[in-house]
């Protein structure tokens, strides 16, 4: 989509072809990329991986629409579209007959708006967010970066709000902020692993004394459950990507099988007993590296044993 707009901006008229099921994603991308009138032809029945001989008939069925999109004169609103309105996200007030009912209402509202991940969220009240912000000396309005694909501003406060929702503790906040700094670095391709059909996941490796300080599991089961730091740092990061980058499954996150890091990333601490040298100095030039955090796009997990995978 962004490539189509790139060429249109250079003055050549074109059409974007979207497989059925990707049309909402394509339409949304026209907003994010600043060309809402872009002509899109949806190819019904086009599925990646279907038998090869099923592809030509799909072209036969769509060719007239493609020709029409290339040649139909522009309407006035296509040549000069309305400006895109800025979205404002204000605090939300919920009243219910009890605290429990209010929490339930907040959870439903957040999920309905695609602001949650489907698990129960801790309500990010001002008091809870102020508590979370005690974990950092950075000012709440400091912008850590812009999160793809929407380019939402990752302020320290917004990161803290999502950390509260994830059930994190203030002492985890510096790790979460450092990882967000990595994800928003222009050299890191965040757009692809959060939008693509491929079921990419993320891994965060934390090194240094903070591993023990935060009780980040670096032993057996380090990708598993049972450690609050591992679980909630990863969940806070997923919520940050959902809310600051504006992604959601079937809307613009098109991972066919979903993502293994759906609810929390692979977060692990470096193990002192590891026979390998520390990651941080070795990967410094190779991967992104901030404040002892190292984040990268990952594949599924395997067990290594005597040269084999299991």
């Amino acid at each position: 989509m962004s490539g189509t707009i790139r060429i249109e901006k250079l003055g050549k008229p074109g059409v974007f072809l979207a497989a059925e099921g990707f049309d909402h994603d394509a339409k949304r991308a026209t907003v994010d990329n600043g060309m809402t009138p872009l002509r899109i032809v949806v190819i019904p029945g086009y599925v990646w991986g279907q038998p090869t001989n099923q592809k030509p008939p799909l072209a036969d069925a769509s060719i007239n629409k493609i020709i029409d999109a290339l040649t139909r004169p522009l309407k006035a609103e296509e040549a000069k579209p309305e400006p895109i309105a800025k979205e404002k996200f204000k605090p939300v007030e919920i009243t219910a007959e009890s605290y429990e009912a209010a929490v339930e209402k907040i959870n439903q509202l957040f999920l309905d708006n695609h602001w949650g991940d489907g698990l129960s969220l801790v309500p990010p009240t001002k008091k809870a967010v102020d508590w979370m912000l005690t974990g950092t000396s950075l000012p709440p309005d400091k912008v850590i970066g812009k999160v793809d694909p929407k380019g939402g501003s990752a302020t320290v406060e917004k990161i803290a709000i999502n950390a509260v929702m994830a059930g994190a503790k203030p002492e985890y906040l510096p790790v979460i902020i450092a990882a967000m700094e990595g994800f928003t670095d222009p050299n890191f391709d965040l757009r692809h692993p959060v939008l693509s059909m491929g079921s990419f996941t993320f891994a965060i490796i934390v090194s240094g004394p903070i591993v023990e300080g935060l009780n980040i599991n670096s032993g057996a089961g380090f990708f598993g459950h049972g450690w609050r730091a591992n679980a909630t740092i990863g969940r806070a990061l997923r919520l940050c990507l959902i809310n600051l980058g504006h992604t959601f499954p079937q809307v613009n996150d098109m991972a066919r099988l979903g993502r293994q890091s759906a609810y929390t990333f692979y977060v692990m601490g470096e193990n002192k007993k590891s026979p390998w040298p520390p990651y941080q100095p070795n990967f410094r030039d190779l991967l992104m590296n901030f404040s002892g955090d190292l984040g990268f796009c990952a594949e599924k997990a395997f067990n290594f044993k005597e040269g084999s995978l299991g």
């Binding site: 050549k12 074109g14 009138p37 090869t52 139909r72 579209p81 895109i84 007030e93 919920i94 907040i106």
Partner: protein, 120 residues
């Protein structure tokens, strides 16, 4: 008189117990929560490039990012365009998901109009 007082006190105590035993509706709870969404400045909304009025005699670019069978689909699109517009010239391009500046500049130089598909 004393008996009357005793009865009155006993009645009041009984009423008090009765009142306590009736479930009461608690006061409404209001929670204000901060918004987790990241705000951004909207991009400038640009209009489309002017269309070609006819494909006859035009150079038409087809861009495909290399996913399996996209080439089969686009080969058919090329055949159909050449059948319908024998004087048109169809040029095929392949590259990354986003075409990038360099290839976009080349395409812009070589075609009059284009079809962009990623093969999903």
């Amino acid at each position: 008189m004393k008996k009357g007082i005793y009865l009155f006190v006993a009645g009041m105590v009984g009423l008090s117990f009765l009142a306590l035993s009736i479930p009461t509706t608690g006061e409404a709870v209001t929670l204000q929560v901060l918004n987790p969404r990241g705000e951004s400045e909207p991009p400038q909304n640009l209009g489309l490039a002017g269309r070609v009025t006819d494909l006859a005699g035009k150079k038409i670019g087809l861009y495909w990012l290399g996913k399996p069978d996209g080439d089969v689909f686009f080969a058919r699109v090329q055949k159909l365009l050449e059948e319908k517009f024998p004087t048109a010239k169809v040029l095929q391009y392949t590259g990354a998901f986003d075409i990038g500046d360099a290839l976009a500049a080349k395409v812009v130089k070589e075609v009059d109009t284009f079809v962009y598909g990623v093969g999903d």
